[in-house]
Amino acid sequence: MVKTKKWVALLATLTLVGALFVGCSNSNKSAEGGSTKAPTGSETNANKSTDKPVDGGTLTFSSFSDIVSINPIYIDNTASADAAKFVMANLYDLDRKGNLAAEPWSLAAELPKVSADGKTYEIKLKKEAKWSDGQPVTADDVIFTIDTFRNPKAGSPGIGQFDKVDKLEKIDDQTVKITLKQVFAPFQYSLFNQLIPYHVLKDVKPEDLKNNAYGKDPAKTVTNGTWKWTEWKQKQYLTFEKDPNYWGQQPHIDKVVYKIYADQNTEVQALIKGDVDMVQAIPVTQVEAVKKKQGLTVLLAPGPQYEYVAFNFKPENFPDKFVPFTGVKTRQAIATALNREGMINNILKGTGTKLNAPFLPNTWADPGSAVTEYKYDPEAAKKLLAEDGWVAGSDGILAKDGHRFSFELQYNAGNSRRQQVATVIQQNLKEVGIEVKPKAIDFSSWADNNLTPGKFPAVLLSWSLNNPDPDGEQTFSSKYFPPNGQNMGWYKNEKLDKLWVDGYSTVDQAQRKKIYEEVGKEISTDLPYVFLYQYGQPQGLGSRVKFAEADAPEASLPYGAFFHIQNWWVTQ
């Protein structure tokens, strides 16, 4: 729902920190019609139930980080987004396949009506939807929210979601018409968002909104979701309780506790002891211990994020201004030389799926077999390198025109998974005559000095995708070179530049799918990145948590851990 600095996303997901900051929304995955992967049946057997739901009880889930603010305008990390999910209703929600949906707990009454030219969206709100102070949720709230998002003075990290909006019109109290400047298919996911109350915040200046108590002080945060926010004990816990005045159907669970742990090991032990019912990120090293424990379930389905090695194509970033990655065969050779299955099995312990293009496997835009597949084959890699003019030097390292094939691979310090993967990459490439020097850098200075300005030889990083759209223009198009875009490797491919534009310039999904198939073919052959794998954080569930089959968590969706939580219940 929010677009964030993706690196932050990466960092966090990936580091010990476990705090998944969510990635930027514009390049995204798995949308309408996608067959996303449900956790396999056996995994959640202990929690799936056909019994009649029981009312009452407390659900406790743990998090590695505290919230920052649950004001939807400023949510840019998973911790805050998770908390907001309990107290703020979405305008639209997502169904299991990543399609926009008007659920019973969504504020919208029905799916948006998109005009024939694809430029206007008409949204109708539910008449009964109310804020926690009793005021109705109206068209004014929708317009006010979008206007605030797109006002630079408000400083919202989600500003880019609404930059295509041209006009907002109030048709009546429950109806809003949004007109876009151009056809932009991913816009539908900008409606997968929460609102702020116009009647409460209309007099706050946009530049003061961030510092306002709204979103930080439970007593001053008027909400419209299923539970209401009752307490925030900083760095310790938040509580959400059933609200007798809630406008929709009451949930089964009386109280939700969001508990913060500073140490992942302690968090897992708390799950084992029964102090918490749900852990969102179990370190892979502890998965076995949790599985062994009677009554605990571990969900291993990978989430909406993928890891990659990005090349830099700008000569200034290399000694003697020689870019070793210029030849497409060289890049393909690197992809061929990497043992990705090995990484998935040994480092991720199975919580990963190989991928060759920036589309999550099994989503509607996944080009499937249309992409170029790279099988681990060091001999084939050596051949490709030779064809591209690389010759082994006296030290066994390849060289071309007097330049040794040696480069630095950067990743963020403290991320033990990346550290291990970097070591495997180093070994794999050494076998084919390429010298890799892994280098760990503190995340904040890495972002500042290397990622944002696009100054590095190669990086090991990942993107988190916080909405299911396949559009990846901001990540791969030459329109988005640093420092104002995320194409930090200075990759330029005119064919792709155009395809990305075509991809979002129609709202016809069948046509979009065809375009993204083209993109998949081209990008997996040309390789601005070596795409490694989709991966996730194993999630743990205690046996008290129950849900029907249709309401099970959906790891592949953004915020899918709490999918349909309104229908869950807890036993004693």
């Binding site: 630079p152 989600g158 979601q161 930080k216 900083q234 708390a270």
Partner: protein, 322 residues
């Protein structure tokens, strides 16, 4: 004494100012700033500038320093960048929690270590002395977080006698019995750590004193052994111990980040690490300052205690303590 005291306080203030300047400079010189953590990619350069301006991050460092000092003099520690929460609101509860945990562990370890060390010095290499050495080795060698995990596994998970983590059970805040149960494990871990060094210090220091001529004289003239130990030897033996205690005092506030993390204790050590990662300058400065104050006060107290236990030390008269 008064003159000495005033001089020390003035010196301390100067030291504090220097510490604050150096810390402020270092924190701001570290690569990566708070804006990097929360400026979004979609944010235009112009919007980014507005943000930096609102936070005052576009001003020269010395200007930021003076405005920070200005706030401090008015008792204002500033706000967090990320969500504009007053620093005091985050900080003071954690300071309190850390002091509760650490002071109990510290006092407990003193109560055990000093008498034990003294006893062991009188029965060198006896069973008790050997045991103390063994405990000290373990205390020094075992990483505290690991020991903490072991205790958790045993007492919280296997036996299920004690809570796993946190300071209170939710909803029981203020119930001292509940706090006590939650403190047992972390206090054990911390006490073992302190115990290791304090028992060694007090034993070694006592042994040294016991070999002094005046002790031999006392024994020779037939003074009872108990009296030799407690009347004659102890006071002198405690001087080096007090030095160590004075130097350790800051730990009471700065906390033990690892132990706090393992037991999910909402203390300042944990907060510091988190805030350092987030580049929350105001919180970091406040923590640095508090720690500095305690270091200075700790030293001052140690000096004053010298005078109490050792009549030869006369503060402010060119004594060895100045």
């Amino acid at each position: 004494m008064t003159e000495y005291f005033i001089r020390r306080v003035l010196q301390s203030l100067l030291v504090l100012v220097l510490i604050s300047i150096v810390t402020f400079g270092l924190i701001h010189a570290a690569p990566g700033g708070p804006t990097q953590i929360f400026l979004a990619p979609g944010l235009s350069q112009e919007a980014a500038k507005i943000q930096a301006h609102n936070l005052g991050l576009d001003r020269p460092v010395y200007e930021q320093y003076f405005s920070w000092v200005g706030g401090l003099l008015k008792g204002d520690l500033g706000y967090t960048f990320k969500n504009h929460v007053p620093v005091g609101q985050i900080l003071w509860p954690t300071v309190q929690n850390t002091v509760i945990l650490m002071s109990v562990a510290w006092l407990l370890s003193l109560l055990i270590a000093i008498p034990w060390g003294i006893y062991n010095s009188t029965k060198e290499y006896g069973l008790s002395d050997q045991t103390a050495s063994f405990v000290a080795y373990i205390g020094f060698a075992m990483p505290t977080f690991w020991f903490g995990i072991l205790l958790q596994e045993l007492f919280a998970l296997e036996l299920d006698w004690l809570p796993l983590s946190d300071m209170w059970t939710m909803g029981q805040e203020g119930n001292l019995g509940n706090l006590f149960m939650h403190m047992i494990l972390p206090v054990s871990v911390l006490t073992l750590g302190f115990l290791a060094s304090y028992s060694k210090y007090s034993r070694a220091s006592m042994l040294e004193v016991l070999e002094q001529d005046y002790i031999r004289t006392a024994r020779a003239k037939g003074v009872k052994e108990n009296k030799v130990i407690f009347r004659h030897a102890l006071r002198n033996a405690l001087i080096p111990v007090i030095t160590v205690l004075g130097l350790d005092l800051p730990i009471l506030v700065s906390g033990a980040a690892l132990t706090e993390s393992v037991f999910n204790w909402p203390g300042m050590g944990r907060l510091f690490i988190e805030m350092a990662n987030a580049r929350e300058y105001s919180v970091l400065m406040a923590i640095a300052l508090i720690t500095a104050v305690v270091v200075i006060v700790g030293n001052l107290i140690a000096d004053i205690l010298y005078a109490v236990v050792d009549p030869r030390v006369q503060l402010g008269k060119g004594g060895k303590s100045a």
